[in-house]
C-alpha cells in the first residue's frame, strides 16, 4: 500500500470555543502552630488526596533519606504494621519522600476516612519513634535501592550533572553514599525529626470530595497539637551556570549515551517565565518540538528526548535530556546544538508559537482535572509561596507572549554558549566524535 491521497481531501475540523480556565474554590487557614492548610473541593470520586510539604533544606543527606523511609515505622501507640493496617481500613495509604527542599508526606484514601488519615498523620508527626529493629531493616533496604539506582544510566547522568552545575551548593549531591546510610542510627533520626519536622512553615493540601471548610476543621482538630519551633533554614541561591568543556563520564560498554544539557531558567513568578516556557516548548519541551521532530522523527537517534524547566526553592534550571544510540552520539549533539542555536538566534514562526501556546494552556486544564493532579499542583505552588489562583495569572501571561518575547528570552536562556553539557556513555567510542564538536573533559563514573 498504500499512500492513499484521497480524491477529496478532508479538512481538519476547527476547534470549538475555548472554555475559560476555572480555578476551583479553595479554603485556607493558618493554624496557631503555624501550619497552613489548604482545602480544595473536587467531588469527582469519593476520595481525598493529602500532601504535607515540610521545609527540609540543608538537612543531613543520609539521615534525611533514612528518616523519610522510617517515619511511618512506629509511634508511641502503633507499630509500623498497625499504622499501615489502620490506614488501609479507610482505603488509605501514606508515604514519605525527601528532596533537597522538602520532606513530603503524601497519600490518598476514601473521603469518609479523612479524619482517620489525619489522626494517623498527627500520630506520626508528633510521636514517630524510629524503632531500632525497623530502622535496621530499612537502612539495609535503602542501601540496596541506592546500589540499584547507581546501576541505572539515568541516575548516573543526573548525579554527574547536579555535581557539575551546583558545585558547592547543597543541591550538588542529592543521593547519599551507602556508607553514609550505614552509619545512621535511630537516635540521629529522632533528633532530626525533633529539629526539623515542624508545622511552622509547612503546608498541608487536601483535595477531594469534601466541603473545604469542614476539611480545614478536621485538619485543625487533628493537627493542632503538632508543635515545634521554627528554625528557618535558608538555602543560598543556586550558582550561575558556568559553561565549559563538555563533561564526558565513562560507562564502558554502554549501548546508549545519556545526553544532559543544563541551561539557565527563572522561577515561576519571574516575567521571563511564560516566554521561556514557550521557547522551551518550541525547542524541545513537547513532542511537536523542533528537537524531537529532528532527532527522533527525522533521524531516529532516540526514543524519548525531553526538555523542561525544573523549579527548586533556591532557583530554577532548564534541563534537556536524551538517551541516544552510542554510534550517533556525535551527530545527536550536533543537531541539539543546532536547534538550541536556532531558537536562540531566530524568532519562532507564528504557527509554532501558537501551537506551543495552545499546548501550554490546554495542559493546564488537563493538569487540574483530577484530584491527584490538583493536589500535586497546589502543593508544588505552595512550596514556592503561590496559590492555585496563580494559574489564572500564568494563563494570562501565556496568552500575551509575542514571538519577539520568545526570541529575546531564548537568546538569554537557550543559547548553546550558555549550556553546561554532560554525556554519560562508552567514552572510548564517543570521545572522538564529541571532541570534533566541542572541547571535552573526560572523567570516570
Amino acid at each position: 500500500m498504500t499512500t492513499t491521497t484521497p480524491a477529496t481531501p478532508r479538512a481538519l475540523p476547527p476547534l470549538g470555543p475555548t472554555r475559560k480556565l476555572k480555578v476551583p474554590k479553595q479554603a485556607e487557614r493558618r493554624l496557631a502552630n503555624g501550619l497552613t492548610v489548604l482545602a480544595v473541593r473536587r467531588p469527582a470520586v469519593p476520595l481525598v488526596e493529602l500532601r504535607l510539604w515540610m521545609p527540609f533544606g540543608r538537612a543531613h543527606l543520609a539521615r534525611g533519606a533514612l528518616l523519610s523511609q522510617t517515619m511511618l515505622s512506629g509511634t508511641q501507640t502503633h507499630t509500623a504494621t498497625q499504622i499501615a493496617a489502620e490506614l488501609q481500613k479507610v482505603g488509605g495509604g501514606l508515604s514519605a519522600g525527601v528532596d533537597p527542599d522538602r520532606l513530603m508526606l503524601s497519600g490518598a484514601g476514601l473521603v469518609t476516612g479523612l479524619g482517620r488519615m489525619l489522626e494517623i498523620t498527627a500520630d506520626v508527626l508528633t510521636g514517630a519513634t524510629y524503632p531500632a529493629e525497623w530502622v535496621g531493616t530499612e537502612r539495609d533496604r535503602l542501601v540496596d535501592r541506592i546500589q540499584v539506582a547507581q546501576s541505572q544510566p539515568a541516575h548516573l547522568a543526573r548525579t554527574a550533572l547536579l555535581k557539575r552545575i551546583y558545585g558547592r551548593h547543597p543541591y550538588a549531591v542529592q543521593t547519599p553514599d551507602p556508607d553514609q546510610i550505614r552509619a545512621v542510627r535511630p537516635p540521629a533520626l529522632r533528633k532530626l525529626h525533633a529539629e526539623r519536622v515542624h508545622p511552622a512553615e509547612a503546608v498541608l493540601v487536601l483535595v477531594g470530595d469534601m466541603q473545604p471548610e469542614r476539611a480545614l476543621d478536621a485538619a485543625e482538630q487533628a493537627l493542632a497539637g503538632w508543635r515545634g519551633d521554627s528554625r528557618s533554614v535558608d538555602l543560598p541561591p543556586i550558582p550561575p551556570l558556568e559553561p565549559g568543556p563538555l563533561l564526558l563520564v565513562d560507562r564502558p560498554g554502554s549501548v546508549q549515551s545519556s545526553l544532559r544539557i543544563a541551561l539557565p531558567a527563572v522561577p515561576r513568578t519571574h516575567p521571563d517565565h511564560a516566554p521561556l516556557q514557550l521557547a522551551n516548548l518550541v525547542f524541545g519541551g513537547y513532542f511537536s518540538s523542533r528537537w524531537v521532530e529532528n532527532i527522533r522523527e527525522d533521524k531516529g537517534y532516540t526514543y524519548g528526548p525531553y526538555s523542561a524547566v525544573e523549579h527548586s526553592v533556591a532557583g530554577s534550571v532548564l534541563v534537556a535530556a536524551a538517551e541516544v544510540a552510542t554510534e550517533v552520539t556525535g551527530p545527536a549533539l550536533l543537531e541539539t546544538m543546532y536547534e538550541l542555536g536556532r531558537i536562540a538566534s531566530l524568532p519562532p514562526e507564528p504557527d509554532e508559537l501558537e501551537q506551543a501556546r495552545q499546548y501550554a494552556l490546554g495542559t493546564l486544564q488537563l493538569g487540574m482535572s483530577t484530584q491527584a493532579g490538583l493536589a500535586s499542583l497546589a502543593s508544588a505552588y505552595a512550596g514556592s509561596g503561590l496559590r492555585l489562583d496563580f494559574l489564572a495569572e500564568y494563563a494570562a501571561r501565556l496568552a500575551k507572549v509575542t514571538a519577539e518575547d520568545v526570541a529575546e528570552v531564548a537568546a538569554r536562556h537557550l543559547a548553546p554558549a550558555k549550556a553546561v553539557t554532560v554525556v554519560l556513555g562508552d567514552a572510548d567510542r564517543i570521545e572522538g566524535p564529541l571532541a570534533a564538536l566541542t572541547p571535552v573533559r573526560r572523567e570516570s563514573a
Partner: protein, 436 residues
C-alpha cells in the same frame, strides 16, 4: 454467616454504547465536572497475534499509526493534538493496542477526525518504517538493554511459563525481526487487524451525548466496513511440574526472582478470577500485607516485593491465558530458593488458617481507593471502558469493580491461595552479573 465488610463507595458514570453500521463499537461516558475529554481507540490485536519471525511487530505497527494517514502528513497528528492543548500516546499490550488523547473539550471533533483518518489507513512508507525501526530500537535500549532488570519479568517470565509462540515470545521483538519488517507486512497487518469491526471507540468527559453521537457518525460513519478477524485460540494447558530458569543480567547489582501461577479465565470466569486479584493485594499491598511482613520485615530475605495479575500489571485488560505474578528483589547474596520456599509457606498458611480479623476488609477498601483513583482521570475511564467493551461487551463494569472486589469472600481468597502450589509455578531468577 454474614461477615462485616468495609463500606465500599461506587461511581455512577453514565454509559452509552452502540455500534455503527461498519461494525465500530462506540462507548460514551459523559462527565461535565471538568472541561476535558478522553478519546481512546482500541484495536483487538496485540503481541499475542504477531506472526512468527515478526516479534515486536504489533508494537512497531503501533508506531506506524502515528506516521501520517489519508489526509495527514507525517508529524501532523502530533501537532494537531498538541496544538489543541492535548496529549496523546499509544501502547501495545498482549491482547490489544490502544491509541488515545486527552484534550480540552473544545477539541472533540478534531480528535475524532484524527482517529477516523488513521482508521481509514495510515501512510505506510519505507522511509517512515525505517525511521520507526530506529526509534523502537532506541526504546528497547532504554527500557531493556541499557538498564538493570530490563524486561524483568514481563519479557523474561512468559517463555518459562508458556510453550506456544503467541504466549511465550518477546513482545518488544528482536532487532533481527524488527529490521526485516517490510511495508507489505505492515499493509497486511493493517488490513487484517485494523478493521472497523475489530475496534472500539470510547469518549469520556465533557461531552453532550447527542452532539458526540452526531460527530462520531460524521467522521467514522464512512470508514469502510471490514469485519473482525477470527481470534485465534491462545489457550495452553496448566503446568503440572514446576519450571525454573535463570539468566545473568550484567547490569543488575542484586538478585531478583519472579514466580507466576495460572489463574482462571478473566473473561469467561470472572467470578473465579476476582479472588486472585484480591489475593495478590492481600499478599503484597503495603507494610501490613502478609509477604511484606514476613519476607521484608521479619526474615529480611527480600528488599522489595510486588504482586499483581497479568504480565503488564493490569488485572482487567487480559484474556486467557494469564497469571498471578509475585516478584521480589533480594539483598546481596540473597537466596532465591529460600524466598520461594517462604512464599509457598505463607501461601499455604493463608489457605489453611484463613485471614486475620479485618485483613480482607482493609485490603478491599484500599483496592477500592486504587480503582476509584484510576477512574478520576478522564482518559482512565475512556481506556478502561474501551477495553471492557472490547473484551466483555460490558463497559459499565468499571462502575461495579470496587463493589465486586469488596464482595470477594474469605473462603474464595483461601481457595485461590490453595491453588498457588509450587508444582504449578513458573519462576525466573535474575543472577546479579553487576554485583560489586
Amino acid at each position: 454467616m454474614l461477615t462485616r465488610r468495609a463500606r465500599i463507595p461506587a461511581t455512577k458514570y453514565p454509559v452509552e454504547r452502540y455500534t455503527l453500521d461498519n461494525g465500530l463499537r462506540v462507548v460514551l461516558t459523559p462527565d461535565r465536572s471538568a472541561p476535558v475529554i478522553g478519546v481512546a481507540v482500541v484495536y483487538d490485536v496485540g503481541i499475542r497475534s504477531e506472526p512468527e519471525g515478526r516479534t515486536g511487530f504489533a508494537h512497531l505497527f503501533e508506531h506506524l499509526m502515528f506516521q501520517g494517514s489519508e489526509n495527514l502528513e507525517k508529524l501532523a497528528h502530533f501537532r494537531h493534538v498538541q496544538g489543541a492543548g492535548g496529549t496523546f500516546n499509544g501502547s501495545t499490550h498482549l491482547d490489544y493496542t490502544d491509541y488515545f488523547e486527552t484534550l480540552p473539550s473544545n477539541a472533540l471533533e478534531r480528535a475524532l477526525f484524527l482517529e477516523a483518518d488513521r482508521m481509514r489507513g495510515p501512510r505506510l512508507t519505507e522511509e517512515n518504517l525505517r525511521n520507526q525501526v530506529d526509534v523502537v530500537k532506541e526504546e528497547i535500549r532504554v527500557n531493556v538493554l541499557n538498564r538493570p532488570y530490563g524486561g524483568f519479568p514481563w519479557l523474561t517470565l512468559p517463555p518459562v511459563m508458556f510453550d506456544t509462540f503467541p504466549n511465550a515470545h518477546d513482545g518488544y521483538g528482536s532487532f533481527v525481526d524488527l529490521e526485516s519488517a517490510t511495508v507489505a507486512d505492515a499493509a497486511d497487518f493493517f488490513r487484517r487487524y485494523y478493521a472497523s469491526g475489530n475496534a472500539v471507540l470510547a469518549v469520556s468527559g465533557d461531552i453532550d451525548v447527542a452532539e458526540a453521537t452526531a460527530l462520531i457518525e460524521r467522521h467514522f460513519g464512512d470508514v469502510p466496513a471490514r469485519p473482525a478477524p477470527q481470534r485465534p485460540d491462545f489457550t495452553e494447558p496448566d503446568l503440572t511440574a514446576e519450571r525454573r530458569a535463570s539468566y545473568t543480567d550484567q547490569l543488575a547489582p542484586l538478585p531478583a526472582v519472579a514466580g507466576a501461577w495460572r489463574v482462571p479465565d478473566p473473561v469467561d470466569d470472572f467470578a473465579g478470577y476476582l479472588p486472585y486479584v484480591v489475593l495478590a493485594e492481600v499478599l503484597t499491598d503495603g507494610d501490613a500485607s502478609r509477604l511484606v511482613e514476613r519476607l521484608v520485615q521479619r526474615d529480611r530475605t527480600v528488599t522489595g516485593l510486588g504482586g499483581y495479575l497479568g504480565f503488564m500489571g493490569d488485572p482487567f485488560d487480559m484474556r486467557d491465558p494469564t497469571a498471578l505474578l509475585l516478584q521480589a528483589h533480594l539483598p546481596p547474596g540473597g537466596d532465591v530458593d529460600k524466598v520461594l520456599r517462604t512464599i509457598d509457606e505463607e501461601v499455604d498458611r493463608l489457605a489453611t488458617d484463613g485471614l486475620t480479623e479485618g485483613e480482607l476488609a482493609r485490603t478491599q477498601a484500599r483496592m477500592a481507593t486504587h480503582l476509584l483513583r484510576d477512574t478520576d482521570a478522564v482518559l482512565g475511564r475512556a481506556l478502561r471502558m474501551a477495553v471492557l467493551e472490547q473484551q466483555r461487551g460490558e463497559p459499565g463494569l468499571l462502575n461495579e469493580l470496587p463493589r465486586l472486589v469488596g464482595e470477594v469472600t474469605e473462603e474464595q481468597v483461601r481457595a485461590a491461595a490453595a491453588t498457588l502450589r509450587p508444582e504449578r509455578r513458573a519462576a525466573i531468577e535474575v543472577i546479579a552479573g553487576g554485583a560489586r
